[in-house]
């Protein structure tokens, strides 16, 4: 008798569960997502310009315009990593809560891949939440227009996937007790060195840094979204952003699925 269900039926079950948990903490999710960009935008594009201390970036573009894609990218990577890594780290830890799902009649990689997909959706959602904040709140003009919708959609999908895949990898290697360290040693440097507050091209005078940050996935997310949203700000060639993000997405997914397997199979 055939008792094995279609893989997508199992995946729908996994998503249904994740959705129920997410819905329960929907308000917390929104607050967590919105708080950082709200404060950054408020201080850098409202308080500082109003008090006469605003930055002036090269060319005619305002700092608020530079920030827009960057802050969307930061929100996405934070959400993507947190949505996958935090619960996974706990479920793989002492409580072994993941066990019931490991025993589901589907190939083992189904669980991490379903998690990545769900995390990617959350990352994109948080990008959408942040968009009105970073475009409407600044006191200085924000020059945002969608150059190409297909490119924007592709960038959002790639950024969501890569963030969630990074979350999978980190969630499978970091113990629950080290979560604080994860934020201090991984996410904070990624954010500050992720071409969020400055375009990559402006790092030209600091060549070693300009080369060094190229290992940072957030660089390609910020720069890719710049291509899609604020084409007037200098940005990496789109082929570079897309290729790098796709490559990192594949790398993190592969590594994450591998470490996941190692963690659950003795």
């Amino acid at each position: 008798m055939n008792k094995v269900p279609p893989v997508m039926a199992v995946v729908r079950g996994l998503w249904r569960r994740d959705l129920a948990v997410l819905r329960r903490e929907g308000v917390a999710f929104a607050l967590r997502t919105v708080m950082n960009p709200l404060l950054v935008v408020f201080v850098f594009t409202y308080v500082l310009p109003k008090s006469g201390q605003g930055f002036q970036t090269a060319g005619a573009t305002s700092f608020a315009t530079v920030l827009t894609p960057g802050l969307i990218a930061v929100a996405m990577i934070f959400t993507g990593v947190a949505a996958v890594a935090l619960p996974l780290s706990v479920e793989l830890g002492a409580t072994r809560e993941i066990e019931d799902r490991i025993l589901a009649p589907a190939p083992l990689h189904t669980i991490p891949l379903a998690r990545i997909a769900f995390g990617a959706v959350q990352a994109i959602l948080s990008g959408a939440l942040v968009f009105p904040i970073v475009t409407l709140l600044p006191a200085t003009p924000v020059d945002v227009h969608v150059a190409s919708w297909p490119l924007l959609v592709a960038m959002l999908l790639l950024a969501g996937w890569t963030s969630a895949a990074l979350g999978l990898f980190l969630g499978t290697v970091v113990k629950p007790a080290q979560i604080g360290l994860l934020f201090a040693l991984v996410l904070t440097p990624i954010t500050f060195l992720g071409c969020v507050y400055y375009p990559w091209a402006s790092l030209q005078p600091i060549r070693w840094l300009q080369i060094g940050v190229l290992i940072n996935p957030l660089v390609y997310m910020s720069e890719g979204l710049r291509t899609a949203l604020t084409a007037n700000v200098p940005h990496l060639p789109v082929a570079v952003s897309v290729t790098a993000l796709a490559g990192l997405g594949v790398l993190f997914t592969g590594l994450g699925v591998r470490t996941f397997r190692r963690r659950v199979i003795d």
């Binding site: 199992v10 079950g13 569960r17 129920a20 809560e97 009649p105 003795d266």
Partner: protein, 311 residues
């Protein structure tokens, strides 16, 4: 038909230090049985269950569950088994009802069926009043009952229970035994590990005694006790015990006689006729009470290993 066949299973951990958890375990468990793996902690029971349920990779040998080789077809095996592990692995972010419902979804049930099945199990396992509680709010006995409900919710063929009653109070333990028996009555094959002799004795139809990753002996509890349990102990209360010990001299089946405060404690051969013969000889001394302590699986284990199960 065999529900579970385990053939020469070996599990070695590279270490350091290197550990051989399983050292060639073979079992053949018929469908419909309650089968026990009895042994002390660290004997290899949980590792054996781990391999049978696709969570542990064997170093050597193979396990075939419901006709499918675990290493070659783990998904087919997972579709046909239910597992209750030693620890409480309920999903702590979800209510009891959701734990059951989502589990059914993981096994491919459609939303309506999953909801219906969850409701049915909540009633049957008498946990309906806690349906909306979170796992952390349940007592150990109740949580274990939920785990059992979850494990059978997708109607598996073989149910694996790893130390299902460890840490439970006696009442919860008896309640769980009843549930396990009722599941067997529905045709489930049940494989359980335990280090409680009473549990193995009361609940299982056949069992394997495992120690240091090897099967020491296999059979029905009665068979094991008869063949390896050694002696029967007889405690008697006599109204006039003087001379009673002397009356037993020459009785072939009596191995030892000790005087107690109120009578005699005898050690008998496990032969079926020994008891009647001894009682006949003691009758003239005002035999008031007789307590027979049969060989137990504990004595079986001691006679096989020289150690106590709990050591």
């Amino acid at each position: 038909m065999s529900a579970v066949v385990v053939d020469q299973l070996v599990k070695r951990y590279a270490g350091p230090p290197p550990v051989t958890a399983l050292d060639g375990i073979s079992l053949d468990i018929a469908a419909g049985q309650i089968y026990g793996l009895l042994g002390p902690n660290g004997a290899g029971k949980t590792t054996t269950i781990g391999i049978c349920t696709s969570r542990v990779r064997a170093t050597g040998g193979r396990a075939v569950i419901a006709g499918f080789d675990v290493a070659a077809a783990p998904v087919e095996v997972r579709a046909r088994i239910g597992v209750v592990s030693q620890a409480i692995t309920l999903d702590r972010s979800c209510t009891i009802r959701e734990n059951l419902e989502f589990h059914c979804r993981y096994f491919g049930m459609n939303p309506a069926d999953a909801r219906g099945r969850a409701r049915e199990l909540l009633d049957r396992f008498r946990i309906a009043d806690r349906a909306d509680a979170l796992p952390g709010q349940l007592s150990g006995g109740l949580a274990q009952r939920v785990q059992l409900a979850r494990a059978i919710s997708h109607r598996p063929d073989v149910l694996f229970l790893d130390e299902p009653t460890a840490g439970l109070d006696p009442q919860s333990r008896l309640a769980l035994w009843d549930l396990v028996r009722s599941l067997q009555a529905e045709g489930l094959t049940i494989v359980l590990t335990t280090h409680y002799m009473e549990e193995a004795d009361e609940l299982t139809e056949r069992l394997a005694v495992i120690d240091h990753g090897k099967v020491l002996i296999e059979g029905t509890p009665e068979q094991l006790k008869r063949e390896h349990g050694g002696t029967t102990r007889l405690d008697t209360v006599l109204s006039d015990g003087s001379g009673a010990a002397a009356a037993l001299t020459g009785s072939e089946s009596v191995q030892a006689v000790h005087a107690t405060e109120r009578g005699l404690r005898l050690t008998l051969d496990p032969s079926p006729d020994a008891l009647a013969a001894v009682l006949a000889r003691l009758a003239p001394f005002g035999l008031r009470e007789v307590t027979v302590v049969e060989p137990s699986l504990e004595t079986v284990f001691i006679s096989l290993t020289g150690r106590d199960l709990r050591e």
